[in-house]
């Protein structure tokens, strides 16, 4: 990746308000973001493109976030997955950990919090880019 390429993020949350809130904030921070509210659409996109980072909700209709995490890591092991959830449980946190999640962020969170996690994932990927403040 060259320094002028943007880090790509796939965002999946079945609550439109979450995508509506997160997508512009991440784009403003300099990321290339594609947002989905249906897991099947996000899965289909993954067959076409490898993203650097995937941010997914856990509890969704159809394929849930845990299955999505499994699929992403199977298809693109280098993609760092950040799980966000409104219904955190010890079991899902532990399962996410064992499946190789980069981080687990429980709602409610502030935008700065998710941006910080994304930056850490970016650093792990070795992406160093100048971001707007």
């Amino acid at each position: 990746m060259t320094s002028d390429q943007k880090t790509t993020i796939l965002l999946l949350d079945d609550e439109p308000i979450v995508c509506k809130r997160l997508k512009p904030s991440l784009e403003k921070a300099g990321y290339d973001v594609e947002a989905f509210t249906k897991s099947r659409d996000a899965m289909h996109r993954l067959t076409e493109k490898q993203f650097d980072i995937a941010i997914t909700d856990l509890k969704m209709d159809g394929m849930d976030g845990m299955a999505f995490l499994t699929e992403v890591k199977k298809r693109h092991p280098a993609t760092e997955v950040i799980v966000i959830t409104g219904f955190a449980t010890m079991e899902t946190a532990r399962e996410s950990y064992q499946k190789g999640v980069f981080d687990f962020v429980a709602k409610p969170f502030k935008l700065g919090e998710i941006l910080e996690v994304v930056k850490k994932a970016e650093a792990k990927l070795g992406h160093v880019a100048t971001r707007p403040n």
């Binding site: 308000i17 809130r21 409104g86 219904f87 955190a88 449980t89 010890m90 946190a93 532990r94 950990y97 064992q98 981080d103 687990f104 962020v105 429980a106 709602k107 409610p108 969170f109 502030k110 700065g112 919090e113």
Partner: protein
């Protein structure tokens, strides 16, 4: 989620720590343990803290208890990332110190000096906390570290949600009092998490005063009830006069968590005196969650 736990050396803080541990166990929250020491001239020019101070000792105990509870294998808090970091000292100098951080999440332990409620609120703002947790005594005098003002001021003035933990009892029911014209997404998500973590029943209570604001309260009650129902959370809803509700919460069992919203558009703020929140916090016999 970022949690600021404001702790003193009293037993209710140890009970409140259990609530923090339970939240962190499920949410992987970033946690800061904070104590506030009174401003002392001796501390101003001296970098060392009094090691025998009960609050300093209590903070260490809380840190140990937190890590003993959550520091095992597959834990985001397990101390395993050793590294050298430049740590700022006084007078514009830095020292390269070897530190150990959590696998994915850190537990910060901090001490401030000065006015307790001011310092707690400043730390919450600086750290971007989403929830402040503090224990306090039960009864009409809701006291934290010998101050009745601190819990009420923190609850009344924080920019984020505040959990005042009064009981060392499991939370069986969440009574969420609706008085708002608008309710933030964050506050609904906070209720989601607490219902999920505690397996608690959710009861929505639309507060009215002498029949005032009934239609607004009723509309909000329906909308918020629908939100939780859509999430698969069973919910009971009812309207209640504020005066009657106040007498109910002053005699309840202690296994309830009484939650209410406080924001710029609160009908309670419009209808009731500003100090209603502070009185409410004192009257309530069980733990209180102030949502924002």
């Amino acid at each position: 989620m970022r949690i600021l736990f404001a702790a003193d050396a009293h037993p209710y803080s140890a009970h409140a720590l259990k609530k923090v541990i339970e939240l962190a166990r499920h949410t992987w929250a970033d946690v800061t343990l904070l104590s506030v020491l009174p401003a002392q001239p001796a501390l101003q020019g001296d970098i060392s803290l009094p090691p025998q101070d009960p609050q300093v000792q209590a903070l260490r105990r809380y840190r140990e208890e937190f890590l003993e509870s959550l520091g095992g294998p597959d834990s985001p808090y397990s101390l395993e990332r050793w590294d050298h970091e430049w740590i700022p000292l006084r007078n514009g100098s830095w020292e390269d110190i070897k530190v150990c951080r959590g696998a994915k999440k850190d537990v910060k332990v901090r001490i401030r000096t000065g006015n307790a409620d001011t310092e707690i609120l400043n730390e919450a703002e600086k750290d971007g906390s989403g929830l402040i947790v503090l224990g306090c005594s039960k009864g009409g005098q809701c006291v934290w570290n010998a101050s009745a003002a601190t819990p009420r001021k923190v609850a009344g003035n924080a920019a984020c949600s505040v959990l005042l933990a009064k009981e060392d009892k499991p939370i069986r029911r969440i009574l969420a009092c609706i008085d708002q014209i608008s309710v933030s997404q964050e506050s609904l998500e906070m209720i989601n998490q607490l219902v999920s973590i505690h397996g608690a029943q959710l009861e929505l209570v639309g507060l009215t005063q002498d029949g005032g604001a009934k239609s607004e309260a009723y509309t909000r009650l329906i909308q918020i009830g629908d939100y939780f129902s859509d999430k698969g959370i069973p919910v009971n809803a009812r309207l209640a006069e504020q005066s009657k509700f106040e007498s109910v919460i002053s005699t309840n069992t202690g296994q309830d968590l009484v939650a209410f919203w406080m924001g710029k558009k609160s009908l309670l703020n419009l209808l009731f005196p500003r100090d209603w929140v502070e009185r409410f916090v004192g009257v309530c016999q069980s733990s209180v969650l102030v949502l924002r």
